[in-house]
């Protein structure tokens, strides 16, 4: 699929057709998930109603990490194979990952206050997720810090790959250190410890968050490609002869610039 969508023009065709379906599926999953999370699922026997915060906290935490893995993978592909869409994907995903991480931190804090008695502690899990948030912000700032977009993209890719070391730290922080944050309860040997009445809405919300990410990723990648094409056309409008002389054909020129940028 990666190679079949390699060509930006083909990506625009396929993603344009997929976008309404992705958006519709996101709306349905989130609607079902929210009703289940806020109305149908029972209160927890220890946490009471406050457990309902988990239906957004856990999916946003999953996305916060997952999106970073995707950015790191795209950065690797961009550095090694110069795939024309890899940088576009990584840069489109970064603000989404930052948003999920912010939601994860904020909802965790709002749950921690009544359950742990504190908004925040410098616990290993919380701290490593805060570092993840700053990795996202640093990546976005670095990519935009260069006049030459390709240099910014390369610097960002390197930062994204170095930052990957934070992900296993997040994952295993609850096992390596005796922290306040509870250990894994879904992906653990011996199966989930959560009852189906809560696990099902949790998974539906996670699906909804995943679909929301996919929808916005496609939307933002399309935006970036449109803006790139518009920049090439503006150059052509200002100096059509120079552009044509350099690239022979304006259409080929725009495509060549898209590949290079």
């Amino acid at each position: 699929m990666m190679t079949r969508l390699a060509n930006p023009a083909r990506f625009m065709r396929v993603s344009g057709a997929a976008l309404p379906w992705l958006g519709g599926a996101t709306a349905i999953a989130l609607a079902i998930g929210l009703v289940w999370a806020l109305l149908l699922s029972p209160p927890d026997y220890q946490q009471g109603e406050s457990v309902r915060i988990m239906f957004i906290h856990v999916p946003s935490a999953v996305m916060a990490e997952g999106v970073y893995y995707l950015i790191a993978l795209a950065s690797f592909v961009a550095l090694v194979w110069r795939h024309p869409l890899a940088d576009v994907a990584a840069q489109a995903a970064a603000p989404l990952g930052a948003a999920f991480t912010l939601v994860c931190l904020a909802t965790g804090s709002l749950w921690g206050r009544p359950m742990w008695g504190t908004w925040w502690v410098w616990d290993a899990r919380l701290t490593s997720v805060l570092v993840l948030f700053f990795l996202y912000l640093g990546y976005i700032a670095l990519v935009n810090a260069f006049d030459d977009a390709s240099r910014g993209a390369r610097a960002g890719s390197i930062l994204a790959l170095v930052g990957v070391v934070d992900l296993p730290i997040i994952k295993f922080s609850v096992d390596w250190w005796n922290t306040l944050h509870q250990p894994a309860s879904i992906l653990r040997t011996g199966g989930p410890t959560i009852d189906a009445s809560m696990l099902v809405p949790l998974l539906i919300m996670a699906l909804g968050f995943g679909l929301l990410f996919a929808t916005l990723l496609v939307l933002r990648m399309r935006t970036a490609l449109n803006e790139r094409k518009a920049r090439a056309l503006r150059l052509y409008a200002v100096e059509p002869r120079a552009t044509e002389a350099a690239e022979r054909l304006p259409a080929a020129g725009a495509a060549a610039r898209m590949r290079r940028a």
């Binding site: 806020l38 309902r52 946003s60 948003a99 916005l216 939307l219 935006t223 304006p250 495509a255």
Partner: protein, 57 residues
């Protein structure tokens, strides 16, 4: 207490649950609206430039 106000009270955790959902809706909803607006703007700008330059791909 009616069923609705009991539900809104969230067993005493209303002050934590509703802000949590509110923040999630504001952050993710805001980003969705922003992404959509920028997408529409990029489509319109590109169409205008393609009309002006006569270049189509």
């Amino acid at each position: 207490m009616s069923a609705l106000s009991a539900w809104l009270a969230m067993g005493g955790y209303a002050g934590f649950i509703w802000p949590a959902y509110g923040i999630a809706a504001a952050v993710l909803g805001g980003l969705s609206i922003h992404s959509w607006r920028r997408y529409r703007a990029s489509v319109d700008t590109l169409a205008r430039l393609q009309r002006q330059t006569g270049v189509r791909e």
